[in-house]
Symmetry: none
Subunit: 326 residues, 2 copies
């Protein structure tokens, strides 16, 4: 999440910069001229890698450039169709493996066909450095007993505030964002766009159903008595999305998080095909599965061992370490 | 004639590669020696770009290699911390924009520091071409009965070839890639890097455990009798990864796919934090959960309703539509 936000802001900087370039052009400066600048980075001294993504092929580095703090962002560039002919013709291939019809190689291309996008923030402030710092996660195993002895006391002690949720339920906030409402006090809920979704397209559709009923903290509190609630959210949520966005149930991924981001029961509705943050199997639980589990075993979420990731700076992770559970 | 010559040259290169590998295995050659193979891709003719991802910096191309259908996958490689010093020292920077504390560049690096992972599937079948063609997906609900009446007949009729899996089990291919081996015929398995992982960094670690036992197609075939196998894979797989890559279990995401890509039981080991394709909750099932489920109910995967995405061109999706199940 932090990485996406940081990247988004970086992209915004590009926009800002392009506008400035355009101003230059209008102001009599040199049009579109690139300046080869030797290599200012040969003086760069790495202090720490703040984060990196193997999937996105980027890296965020904090270091020193001529005695000043700097953040450098490197990102590989997308592969463009219009470069393929040159790439195939002019590169060197090194065979790594062949098995039946499959073979893999390392391709070495001409540098100008395979550039690395580089951003330098210098001088960089503490705020820049923190923004790009990613936190590692660890997978935690929580038995039913661990929940009672470690997690629950921790949640209760933290007294995480869900006042903002109650504000929504009481229509004191975000009332104009409500897409659907079932006011029944037991099985009712509100359906709203998640604030990560700008609603400009359905490609990344993301809505949240928040239960009117209070006091259900998470998956762990669910029993068979909650089945009517869960089935109601599932059914009416899907119908509302079909009606409003013309998206059928077969295009939806409907799930709960464990651990949730906040301890008031809520269900995520995201578009299948959109890899929403948190739709990974280590944190998401399909609502259809949760319903099935409770139908077959009322005590399922009390007795079950559950797995979830925790960030290294999460207080709960410390509790699991102290308890020798990691 | 030119094409025959090209094919002949291609075959020669493959034979050369295989002999060198065989030399390796017999101890007669250098371990892990690569063969530079000129550039077989200079003969490649692009037919169509099947899909590409600007986020992941990859591209999937259908074309012809010496008159045969081929699919080529190009993907930029992650940026590794241990290459930074060389990258910064030895590259050329071209300034694009400077605005206050922000500046952007195009960095041109030495080819060997900035390789492109290349996979060639040749000859490629219609199935391969379809597989890499980006398609919309739909979520399918498969009851235990649906599996028997729709999915299983379809799988059996298709007779998907797993010859390449048997090549690995019989050490006819990829023998030098085996990270760990338990030769027990019932609970044994081979652990190898998935070919999507270039093994140059652990950030995107991706290994597959392939069961020695044949005939277990998927999750649906699993019963309590498979518990020793599953537990063995889980235990020994984690230990092998800790030993080889110094990655503890708390940094791993271990799961099966349903539907799987191929119908010979295999388990995915990916690094937590790496959003491996297919780690979404709609397709992945944590091995720890599968074990827990079978411990509590031997018939779990026979009776359970399972959910999974299918692409719009998947023959199985048509079967579900015909059966009115979509």
């Amino acid at each position: 999440m932090a990485d996406s936000a940081a990247k988004h802001e970086t992209d915004e900087l590009y926009q800002k910069a392009k506008r400035a370039k355009s101003d230059n052009e209008n102001g009599g400066g040199e049009v579109g001229k690139e300046i080869e600048c030797g290599n200012i980075l040969s003086e760069f001294k790495t202090t720490k890698v703040l984060s990196d993504s193997a999937r996105e092929k980027n890296i965020f580095i904090h270091g020193k450039l001529a005695d000043q703090d700097a953040v450098i962002i490197l990102e590989k560039t997308p592969i463009r169709e219009d470069t393929l002919a040159e790439l195939f013709a002019g590169s060197t291939l090194k065979l790594e493996m062949k098995n039946d019809i499959y073979s893999t190689y390392r391709l070495q291309a001409l540098p100008q066909l395979n550039e690395i996008k580089t951003t330098v923030v210098c001088p960089a402030t503490e705020k820049h450095i923190k923004k790009y710092q990613r936190q590692e996660s660890f997978l935690v195993e929580e038995t039913g007993a661990d929940y009672q002895s470690i997690t629950l006391p921790y949640i209760q002690k933290q007294s995480f505030s869900v006042q903002w949720v109650y504000n929504i339920l009481e229509k004191k906030a975000e009332a104009d964002r409500i897409v659907f409402e079932d006011p029944d006090p037991t099985v009712g809920f509100l359906l709203l766009p998640d604030f990560k979704w700008d609603q400009k397209q359905v490609d990344d559709l993301y809505l949240i159903a928040i239960t009117l009923q209070r006091g259900i903290r998470s998956l762990r509190d669910l029993t068979q008595e909650h089945l009517p609630l869960l089935q109601n959210i599932f059914q009416k949520g899907k119908e509302a999305i079909l009606q409003r966005y013309q998206l059928p149930a077969s295009k939806l991924r409907v799930y709960l998080h464990y651990q949730p981001s906040y301890y008031h029961l809520h269900v995520h509705f995201t578009k299948l095909g959109y890899e929403a943050p948190g739709c990974g199997v280590e944190r998401a639980h399909l609502l259809a599965d949760v319903i099935q589990n409770l139908q077959s075993d009322p005590e399922y979420y009390k007795t079950r061992t559950l797995y979830f990731p925790l960030r290294v700076d999460d207080g709960l992770l410390s509790k699991y370490k102290e308890g020798g559970r990691l």
